[in-house]
């Protein structure tokens, strides 16, 4: 995404959020209005708002990453959130609602008749809120800085202003509308690319068999597959020959990932990188050995990797099929463009000669 679209997109979301918040404004203002929207929020709207809270980069990408690294056992995390909500309903939400209290400190005081407990509960609420807000604001600043090159604090400032204005003006009703709106926005933003990837993955499955049986290294010659049959109606298919379109690029990535099962199934070993902005890891599955190097910085970065365990092998860059110099005893030097990455397959020289003959 280039930054020509980013600034208007961020502005659009901020304005839409403020607008949705204003839609929830009610003129009559009571305590009940402010804290619980006078109990007018239905279950569907409330469910969307709570899901909007939990459908974050941490829960979506984080769990995908954990499952990738450590297997399906990590699916316990979302189960834990959900079961946690059930326990919350049983022992906190329902009794709190029945008691007529608006906040947890209110409830604690009403139930235990102690001012000290009230203060303690208040301190916990503020502490949890603090711990929750800090990474959120940091993430907002980081995202905006990466996307547009804005100063780090700007993203946090925009989020703080929009949210505080919405809450202060509209109370619980406005913020429920805002969260429900964000839920549907985020869900769409995640589902559309996911659907696109699934379609492209399905579409490229057909010529996979023949490629896998052949030499896994001749990926450079692999021409356009049957993917366009499925995606024929899509407008940008016309560009597919050029190799620069998003469709072509995505299909190419999927092809490569399918030819190297180590991407999906392999073990994961992180490598020591001399540069903290560069993350390098190895994935190994049977005889398939893939080295991924990622530059997380906006600027070009060099790194030295200790690959002496693979002395004598040649890294083959998977997108272009270019053979890099052989690995030796010395640290392997790589330079990466800003936000650049390499996918290498580490091939044994002997087996390559064997296949060529």
């Amino acid at each position: 995404m280039n930054s020509a679209y980013t600034v208007p997109a961020v502005a659009l979301v901020a304005v839409a959020t403020a607008f949705v918040g204003a839609f929830g404004l009610r003129i009559s203002r009571t305590t009940s209005d402010f804290y619980v929207a006078s109990r007018t929020v239905g279950p569907r709207l409330n469910a969307a708002a709570i899901s909007g809270e939990y459908l974050s980069a941490a829960s979506f990408l984080g769990i995908a990453g954990l499952v990738l690294l450590q297997g399906p056992d990590m699916l316990w995390y979302p189960v834990g959130y959900t079961a946690g909500y059930l326990v919350l309903l049983l022992f906190v939400a329902a009794p709190l609602r029945r008691s007529g209290a608006y906040t947890l400190p209110d409830f604690a005081e009403a139930r235990l008749a102690s001012q000290g407990v009230r203060r303690l509960a208040g301190a916990f609420v503020v502490g949890v809120g603090w711990l929750y807000l800090l990474p959120q604001l940091q993430g907002a600043g980081l995202t905006l800085a990466v996307l547009t090159g804005a100063p780090d604090a700007l993203g946090a400032l925009i989020v703080a202003v929009v949210v505080v204005a919405t809450v202060a003006a509209g109370g619980m009703r406005s913020i429920t509308f805002v969260q429900a709106f964000q839920y549907w926005l985020k869900l769409t933003a995640l589902l559309v690319p996911a659907l696109f990837l699934v379609l492209a993955w399905q579409g490229d499955g057909q010529h996979l068999g023949s490629d896998l049986q052949g030499d896994g290294e001749t990926v450079a010659e692999a021409g356009p597959g049957q993917g366009e049959v499925l995606l024929d109606g899509v407008q940008f298919v016309g560009q597919r020959g050029e190799g620069s379109s998003l469709l072509h690029w995505t299909r190419r990535m999927i092809e490569i990932r399918k030819q190297n099962p180590a991407f999906g199934l392999g073990s994961y070993t992180e490598l020591q990188s001399s540069n903290p902005a560069v993350i390098a890891f190895l994935r190994e599955y049977k005889d398939d050995l893939v080295l991924c190097v990622n530059n997380f910085s906006r600027f070009a970065q060099p790194t030295e990797l200790d690959l002496s365990a693979f002395d004598g092998r040649h890294p083959v860059e998977l997108i272009g099929g270019v053979r890099f110099p052989a690995i030796g005893e010395l640290p392997y030097l790589l330079t990466l463009a800003g936000h650049g990455f390499y996918w290498f397959r580490l091939t044994k020289v002997a087996s390559r000669i064997g296949r060529r003959v």
Binding site: P72, D73, L86, L89, L90
Partner: protein, 119 residues
């Protein structure tokens, strides 16, 4: 009794639904409002029944989720089973449990209201 007897007769012959606002007649209500021992017992019974519903659902949840790690450890195709159960199958029962609890709690409240209004 400040009310005249004709009005009271209407109440007796009709189904005892709404016209029960005769003072001195809604005894449990005043018992609760005045916080007598009997009123306290009424409220306690409601709180108890709500707590019982919550504990029942919690017990079912523990029995449902607790043995799963053992099942995964024992199953031959553990990875696949983990995906199917944790990724998809477990959420339905959790939603059903929550729904059962909410209905149960609302019924407890309705029963209590009926008890208070009808006696």
């Amino acid at each position: 009794m400040p009310q005249d007897p004709t009005e009271r007769r209407v109440v007796v012959t009709g189904p005892p639904r709404r016209a029960r606002r005769v003072p001195g007649q809604a005894r449990p209500r005043t018992e609760i409002a005045e916080q007598t021992t009997l009123g306290h017992t009424y409220v306690r019974s409601l709180i108890r029944s709500q707590l019982r519903a919550a504990l029942t659902v919690f017990a079912v949840l523990v029995l449902l989720v607790g043995p799963l790690p053992l099942v995964f450890a024992a199953a031959p195709q553990a990875r696949r089973l983990t995906w199917v159960v944790l990724g998809f199958c477990l959420y339905g029962p959790l939603v059903l449990l929550a729904r059962w609890y909410v209905r149960r709690a609302e019924r407890n409240e309705r029963d209590f209201v009926r008890l208070v209004e009808d006696r």
